[in-house]
Amino acid sequence: MKKVFLALAAAILAFASAQEINYITGNRGSDVDYATRKAQEYMADHPGVTINVIQGPESATDRAQQYLQFFEAQSGEVDLFEIDVIWPGDMAEHLVNLYDYAGYNEAAPDFFPAIVANNTVDGRLVGIPYFTDAGLLYYRQDLLDKYSLSVPTTWDELTAAAQTIQDGERAEGNPDFWGFVWQGNAYEGLTCDALEWVASNGGGEIVEVQEDGSKLITINNENAIAALEKAASWVGTISPNGVTGYQEEDAREVWQSGNAAFMRNWPYAYSLGNGEDSAVAGKFGVAALPMGSGEGARNAGTLGGWQLAVSKYSANPEVAADFALFLTNHENQLDNAITRSLLPTRTAVYEDQALLDSGSAFMAEFLPVFQGAVARPSTATAPNYLQASQYFFSAVHSVLTGEEDAETALALLELDLESLTGFPTAQ
């Protein structure tokens, strides 16, 4: 009788302290399976906690739309969100400051500083980096060998090498061969590509946060103009005219069928390029994107990836924050890297022997690229980032298609950004 009573009391206590959180993840098969597996592991260690995994929509735009609807309603229905690297600024007011929760102050320095900086809005850490992404240069090793070329380190070298290989391959009877494919459609992806051209040529990062915290529009400068003029010169020469309509998959299709010497793309194309249906399997390598020739030129890949963030409207933010920390700890990032090829956000994981022994060992090569990755000015221009980005990629697109010259386009862009954000311009 006493035992029954004790069990009952325990049950009541457990019920009283039962904490339930809802975690919204992506839509790919592995997203839900992985999240469910991790939730079960966490629940096994934390009796009394229930984590429900919710399947989110597939496209990033749809996910943003859904999240915003939760926020608009100030709904605590979802406690833990996966957010894109460009959303922290826009969504900050709906998210908790993770520094207020146990373990975050100690953990933050172990993550890539660029991503932590991107996720920090007015000193508040609104998202913990979950996995990352950055633009890479894919090159055909076999063709570089064939034409006795080395991996280009500057855009000029890339232009010349692409032209040489393209001329050679066409002369050998492949009229569909192109030197360099990338993402030139008017969409968010062009913002990524163009930011790389501009930043790698010493042209800045469109809108920059100064040391004193003030923000400055820096896009209208000589180096940025030169970078865009260079990119425009590729269209129709080493890149197809159609590149101005290309997204990631269009570039990968040309590349993977063996019809391009170089490609700018995200890391996801690596394992696909070595797949069974790929004509370039085993024939290519990846490197940091080339740099320009302007003053302050450097290697620059645009930062991508996803963060975990806790809703301000959550009833159990401590649990959600703790689970987010669990998902991003060393062991789980290693698991994510090995089982799902998602790139870790903790530097130490790249040096872990378990990773180097696995099929994901290629990630270690990317480490310098990710450390030098350049973030889009999403936090600086929040809450107007998407409009700022649209102004930017439309301006760049008009240069690529020849409707506008780079000088005029950037002067107009500067005016647009000025009236949108109210920030001063650099001069």
Binding site: F71, D176, N185, P240, Y246, N384, T401, L412
Partner: protein
């Protein structure tokens, strides 16, 4: 006498009528309530939103800003572009064409900044139409051009298909079913299929075909080149909705009595005469209904533009969606929606009046 007997009778009748009227109102009440809830209330709500600066999912306080959103969307101006002069003061001529100054120097910047929406030549001079929100003005123009051209072509092609399929021939029912396939495919799917066919290299159908025929270099950029964008998207829409037109017109053809044609034959009318004197006039009411359907549908076009053009070129609906979702400017998006509603309303009234649809 007659008056005294008539008056109570009239009152009696009107009592009855009033009672019936009251019952009628009660019976109508559910539908009126429904109409209010799903029609008038949301519309009023959108109109209210359009006079505020409300942002989507933001804690920024919402303020009433009157018609500022409408001013931002609709402000337009026309300016003449001056001819570019070289140092000697002579017009700069390239490729045999006079060069003009950029619109940047001509359009006003204060208090509102204007951007170029269109440029056009008129009597040897060149003008620019500037708009505060050039994207919106372009989206309105593009949507109207799209609607007028696509609906006209659909009607014409639909009519030809309907006339062909109204004759008796072997395999007619199979043909009638096959005709409907494009209409039955979900727009998002068919838009994607067409996007692939319009691909910018020879893996795309049209580039492969034109390359075989020796036109172009096999790298025509149909969906990015501004001059080819509208023809391409109109082609997709015509392919998809001409069958719908044909179906409606086929139903209209079936209602025309055979005797009329027999009588016309007796009178010695030829085929063309029969078409213009019997078929077309009797088909007109059906055609009017079909036109109203298709026009209003086309003005609201969303999925096709969204899939094929994304953010390269907007229709009115994709513009409103972009403004709301990506830009989170709920007030501006609501104002754009109200303007779309008014444009649709004007088109509907023009149709009602000119084609006497209500009669």
């Amino acid at each position: 006498m007659a008056v005294s007997t008539k008056a109570p009778k009239a009152r009696q009748l009107s009592d009855l009528a009033r009672q019936e009227e009251r019952t009628a109102w009660w019976l109508l009440f559910p539908s009126l309530l429904l109409l209010f809830l799903i029609g008038i209330y949301p519309l009023a709500q959108v109109f209210y939103l359009s006079t505020t600066n409300k942002r989507f999912a933001s804690s920024q306080p919402t303020e009433f800003i009157g018609f500022a959103n409408y001013r931002d969307l609709l402000s337009m101006t026309v300016r003449e572009l001056p001819v570019q002069l070289d140092e000697a003061g002579q017009p700069v001529i390239e490729d045999g064409k006079k060069q003009y100054e950029s619109w940047v120097r001509v359009l006003p910047r204060e208090p509102l900044r204007y951007r170029a929406a269109f440029e056009f030549g008129f009597f040897g001079k060149r003008y620019v139409i500037g708009a505060v929100n050039a994207d919106f003005i372009k989206s309105v123009w593009d949507t109207i051009v799209f609607t007028v051209v696509a609906v006209a072509l659909e009607t014409l092609i639909g009519l030809i298909i309907a006339l062909a399929l109204s004759r008796k021939f072997f395999g007619r029912s199979v043909m009638r079913t096959a005709m409907l396939v494009p209409w039955a495919i979900i727009t998002v799917v068919s838009s994607l299929i067409w996007e692939w066919m319009f691909k910018s290299n020879r893996s795309g159908f049209f580039n492969a075909l034109f390359d075989r025929l020796g036109w172009g270099d096999g790298n025509t950029v149909f969906l990015v080149n501004p001059a080819l964008q509208m023809p391409s998207i109109i082609a997709i829409d015509v392919w998809k909705t001409a069958p719908f037109m044909a179906l409606l017109l086929l139903a209209g053809l079936a209602t025309i009595p055979r005797e009329l044609y027999e009588a016309a034959e007796v009178d010695g009318a030829n085929k063309i005469r029969k078409f213009f004197s019997i078929t077309l006039p009797l088909l007109l009411p059906t055609m009017a209904v079909a036109l109203v359907f298709r026009t209003l549908d086309s003005l609201r076009v969303f999925d096709l533009f969204q899939v094929v053009f994304g953010e390269r070129r907007y229709s009115m609906a994709t513009f409103a969606q972009f403004t709301l979702v990506s830009n989170k400017d709920m007030g501006l998006s609501a104002a754009a929606s109200v303007i779309i509603f008014i444009i649709l309303f004007i088109f509907a009234i023009i149709y009602m009046r000119s084609l006497k649809v209500d009669a």
